[in-house]
Every structure is written in structure tokens, then in C-alpha cells.
């Protein structure tokens, strides 16, 4: 594993991809000033841009229920959590922009035009307060597991350094989700019924967040951006959350869920069509989510223009 104390060494170059791979395999850390292979730059940039987009759109998913928070302190808490997500997007867009593939504005405009992607779960709408809790409990946990697996190795230095903070905050969000779920699980019949319905809506999207099985030669694994295969992360998630949810008395909406002789839980066959639909911007709430963001971006262009005239870049 790399350490964050690794000194940035800029301006290095490699003879070819084999030479670069040897550097990665020896525990090397790539820095922005390095003459990294274009293949690596493109893959890592696309991955970080996807992560940044997902943080921003995650914030937009959570914002819908903040006005209805059932208490002032809860409103503060959910605001702070959503602010963290926007803050993560802010950090990640800066890291991605430093790779000189696209500027931050270009990334945002691609996102708002539907030209770039973000996580499947943020193409869904939270329809009750319990969905807000399901996002905090299920989605944040899935995101945390996924990001922690990237942080574990992550050969791109700037990304690893911001992930240290992001993973720490996401871990806090996950604990917050657990506390919020506990309130519903030990609450009134209304609350328990609300959460069961939310679980029915969010279980499969959360499981699908890890993506289909990794390709045998996934370059992100080969270049040690990812440290674990998608299917392994997904299996660990199912293994952890099925017994927890059963323990709270909730039912997992998977008729073919089974437990093997060793006590391990296995999800039934996964229908990947909903995930593919989100990647085509055809998810249940993709259109509204993108249109809201795009319209707002257009409506507030005058602010950015005014600051540009002042010489304050945004």
C-alpha cells in the first residue's frame, strides 16, 4: 500500500506501457506533472469525473427532502451531510481539472447536458423521508465501501490525497445513516412501514451501485486505481447488510436471496437493465435531475459572468 507521505515526484516519464506497469507494480505513485501514458490519464480522468459527478448529483438527490426535515437539528444535519457531498464534488473536480483533459466548467456543462455519467443510484427519486434514510443507510454505505477500496491503493496521488478526507466523511455519513435507521426501525408502525417501502425501492439500486462484474483485464485494477473487483465488493455488501436488515425486522426485496451452508448470503440474479438505463440517462428521475441542474446553471450564468468581469474566476 502507498502512504500519503510519499513525496510527489514530478516530470517522470516511461518508455512504454510495460515500463509504466512495472512502476505501478513496484508501488509507484503518479503525480500530475508526470508524463503519464495517455491511456492511464484518460481512464483515471474518466473515473474521477464520474466520481465528482456522482457526488454532485448525490447532493441533488438528497436536497429534495431537506425542506421537510422533521426538526431543526435534523435539517442542520442533513444540510451538513449534503454540503459534504457538494464539497467532495468540489475537491474531485479540482483534481480532475488538473489532469488537463477538461476544465471544471466543461465537466459541469457536460454533466448538465447529459454527456457524462454519474452513479445509478442518483437517477432515482427519494419519494418519502424514509427514502432519505435509505440513501443515508444503504447508498452511503455502498459508496463508502467502493471509495475505501479505491483509497486502499490508488496510484494517482492527488486523488488518493482527497480520498483520505472523502472516505473519512463518508464513514461519518454511514454512521449517521445507521443512527437514522435505528430511529425508524425502533419507531412507530408508520415509520417501520415507510422504511420497508423505501428498502423495496432502494435495495437493488444500492446493490447495483458496485456495477456488473469487473472485466478480467480491467485497466483500473491493473493500474491500481481500484483495489477490489466489483463483484467482490458487491458480495461483501450483501453479506454485511442482509443480516443487519433482517435483524431490524425488515425484508429484503429479493425472492431468490439465499444463505449457503457456511452462513453466507447470496443475492439472487441481478437484472442489470435498470443500471444500463441510468447510464443512458433513462433512469426513473434522470430527466428531472438533469433538467433541474441544467436550468439552474443557465439561470445563474449572470453571476459567473459578473465575477468573470471582475476577474474572479469561478
Amino acid at each position: 500500500m502507498h502512504t500519503l507521505a510519499t513525496a510527489p515526484a514530478a516530470g517522470r516519464s516511461w518508455a512504454d506501457l510495460d515500463d509504466f506497469q512495472a512502476f505501478i507494480d513496484a508501488g509507484g505513485m503518479v503525480e500530475p506533472g508526470d508524463d503519464m501514458p495517455p491511456e492511464y490519464r484518460d481512464e483515471v480522468f474518466r473515473f474521477i469525473e464520474f466520481h465528482a459527478n456522482s457526488e454532485l448529483m448525490g447532493g441533488l438527490t438528497e436536497r429534495d427532502w431537506i425542506p421537510h426535515a422533521p426538526g431543526l437539528r435534523l435539517k442542520q444535519v442533513f444540510l451538513a451531510k449534503t454540503q459534504d457531498e457538494i464539497g467532495h464534488a468540489h475537491l474531485l473536480y479540482m483534481v480532475a481539472a488538473d489532469m488537463s483533459v477538461k476544465t471544471r466548467t466543461e465537466m459541469l456543462e457536460d454533466l448538465f447536458a447529459g454527456r457524462s455519467r454519474f452513479h445509478n443510484v442518483f437517477h432515482y427519486q427519494a419519494v418519502t423521508w424514509a427514502d432519505q434514510i435509505a440513501i443515508a443507510y444503504l447508498v452511503d454505505a455502498a459508496a463508502f465501501a467502493s471509495q475505501r477500496a479505491v483509497f486502499a491503493e490508488c496510484t494517482y496521488g492527488p486523488y488518493k490525497r482527497v480520498l483520505k478526507r472523502i472516505v473519512a466523511e463518508e464513514g461519518f455519513h454511514m454512521r449517521h445513516g445507521e443512527e437514522m435507521l435505528l430511529r425508524l426501525a425502533t419507531g412507530t408502525g408508520t415509520q417501520r412501514a415507510m422504511f420497508q417501502e423505501a428498502l423495496n425501492r432502494w435495495w437493488w439500486p444500492a446493490v447495483q451501485l458496485f456495477g456488473p462484474d469487473s472485466d478480467p483485464d480491467d485497466p483500473l485494477l491493473r493500474w491500481k486505481i481500484k483495489s477490489q473487483r466489483n463483484e467482490d465488493l458487491r458480495a461483501a455488501y450483501v453479506q454485511k447488510y442482509v443480516p443487519l436488515l433482517h435483524g431490524y425486522g425488515f425484508e429484503i426485496p429479493d425472492p431468490e436471496l439465499r444463505q449457503d451452508d457456511d452462513g453466507r448470503w447470496h443475492a439472487g440474479p441481478i437484472d442489470w437493465e435498470p443500471l444500463k438505463a441510468t447510464m443512458r440517462m433513462g433512469g426513473p428521475d434522470s430527466k428531472r435531475r438533469i433538467e433541474t441542474a441544467a436550468q439552474n446553471w443557465a439561470d445563474t450564468a449572470w453571476v459567473r459572468d459578473a465575477l468573470d468581469r471582475q476577474g474572479v474566476g469561478t
Binding site: 454532485l56 447532493g59 441533488l60 436536497r63 427532502w65 431537506i66 425542506p67 421537510h68 426535515a69 422533521p70 426538526g71 431543526l72 437539528r73 435534523l74 435539517k75 442542520q76 444540510l79 451538513a80 449534503t82 454540503q83 457538494i86 464539497g87 464534488a89 468540489h90 473536480y93 423521508w129 430511529r183 419507531g187 412507530t188 408508520t190 415509520q191 433541474t292 441542474a293 439552474n296 439561470d299 445563474t300 449572470w302 453571476v303 459567473r304 459572468d305 459578473a306 465575477l307 468581469r309 471582475q310 474572479v312 469561478t314
Partner: protein
């Protein structure tokens, strides 16, 4: 601390203003004009809600649980001003409200910081530290945007919001008793005069072509007992979850 009915009404007006303006500010989370501003405005919203919690907390010893009190009262029992209640759909309106409101808020905390009541003075001292950042944010943002706003949106927002903003200074019905008790020494009219001077100076400093007169308080607020158009929908939004099951702990 047991407060007189007059002081309770006076503090409730400020608490409701802080609560509702904070709640309105939250509508920009994720939709700020750029990411840095998104983060800053969200922090301001959290601070205002925190101020509301502090003020409600002073009133609640014999009133009841915070969230029920803050969210489930009948609309006629709120004492908010209309500037805090209204929806600002455009960023320019929200920015101008932020500037006008925080200018006034700082003066209100300053007055409370001088109160002989130790609890409110301590709360005010804490809020003043946060308020200095809110004022700096409003000043820096307005000074930069206003000078370069070729669209005229800022000036339009000032013209549109000025009459509503003056309602901040609509005193609660028994404010004279609050002054007579010595809880505060500055009346709303005193603070309004200073606020008008500050607003006029800001407009001049930023070179805005907006006339500012010492507009009178909105009579229709009737000492903050009347709610603005659109309040009921806002109130329904605020209490949507809490009212689902009042026996529940959320």
C-alpha cells in the same frame, strides 16, 4: 429563565425570522451559482437555523419540545417578518435578501448582546461571531457582483425587496414593555434608522443605481401577526414529515 409575555413575543419574532430565513436559504443547496458559493451559502443557512434553535431554546422551558414548537404551531402564532417568509426563486433575490437580512440581524444581535439578561447576551455574543462572516460574505459577494451586473438584476431585486425588507423592523405589539423592562435599550425604530443608513451607504459604495428611501414598515404585517402570501404552502413543506406521526421520534 422566565420571561414576560412581552419579551417572549420579542424573542419569538427573532427566532421565527432566523428559522424561516435559514429554511429558505436551504433551497439553494446543490444549486448555487458555483460550487464554492454553494458551500458558503449552505453554511450560512446552518448558522441561521442554529441561531433559531438557540433562541427557541430560551423560550421552551415552559412551552414544549423544540421541533413541535418550531414547526407545528398554527400560522397565526408565528411572529416572523415577511422578508424571512417569502420564497426567493432567483439567486439575485436570495442574495439581496441575504444582504438586507444580515445587515439587520447583526444590529439585532448587537442590541441583544447589551441586554442585562445573561442568557440572551451569551447567545448573542456567540451569534455575533458567525454574523461577522455572514456580513463579510454579503459584502464581498455584493461588491463584486453588483459592480459587474450588466443584467440589472441586483438593482431590480433591491427595488422589489425594499418594501418587504422594511418589515423586519415591524415591532411586536408589546415592544414598549420590553424596553420598559430594560431587556433591550434600542427600539426597532432605532435599529431601523441605523440599518437604513448602512444600506444606503452600501448602495453608494457599490455604485448601484438604486434609490433607497427610509421605507415605512409594511402595515399589513400588523405587528408580525399576519403571514405573507405563500406562507401556508411553506409551512406545509416544513411540517410535512413531522406531522405524519406526531408520536414518532424522527
Amino acid at each position: 429563565m422566565t420571561y414576560s409575555a412581552a419579551v417572549r413575543d420579542y424573542l419569538l419574532a427573532f427566532a421565527d425570522d432566523e428559522h424561516l430565513v435559514g429554511a429558505r436559504h436551504t433551497s439553494w443547496i446543490g444549486l448555487g451559482p458555483f460550487l464554492e458559493e454553494d458551500l458558503a451559502f449552505c453554511s450560512i443557512a446552518q448558522d441561521e437555523l442554529g441561531h433559531a434553535i438557540g433562541l427557541y431554546g430560551l423560550l421552551l422551558a415552559d412551552v414544549g419540545e423544540l421541533d413541535t414548537f418550531a414547526l407545528l404551531r398554527a400560522s397565526q402564532d408565528y411572529r416572523s417578518c415577511w422578508l424571512a417568509e417569502i420564497e426567493c426563486r432567483d439567486w439575485n433575490d436570495s442574495l439581496v435578501r441575504h444582504w438586507l437580512y444580515d445587515r439587520a440581524e447583526a444590529l439585532r444581535w448587537e442590541a441583544l448582546a447589551a441586554s442585562p439578561d445573561a442568557d440572551i447576551a451569551a447567545l448573542a455574543a456567540r451569534a455575533q461571531r458567525e454574523e461577522s462572516f455572514h456580513l463579510a460574505h454579503a459584502d464581498q459577494f455584493m461588491s463584486r457582483v453588483a459592480a459587474n451586473d450588466t443584467s440589472g438584476r441586483i438593482v431590480d431585486s433591491i427595488r422589489r425587496l425594499a418594501p418587504v425588507a422594511a418589515g423586519i423592523w415591524d415591532a411586536t405589539a408589546a415592544e414598549s414593555d420590553v424596553l420598559a423592562e430594560g431587556f433591550v435599550t434600542d427600539s426597532s425604530a432605532d435599529l431601523a434608522a441605523r440599518w437604513n443608513d448602512q444600506i444606503r451607504a452600501d448602495i453608494a459604495r457599490w455604485g448601484l443605481a438604486a434609490e433607497w428611501s427610509d421605507a415605512g414598515v409594511v402595515a399589513a404585517q400588523q405587528h408580525r401577526t399576519q403571514r405573507s402570501e405563500g406562507f401556508d404552502a411553506f409551512h406545509d413543506d416544513l411540517q410535512r414529515v413531522l406531522s405524519l406521526d406526531t408520536a414518532a421520534t424522527w
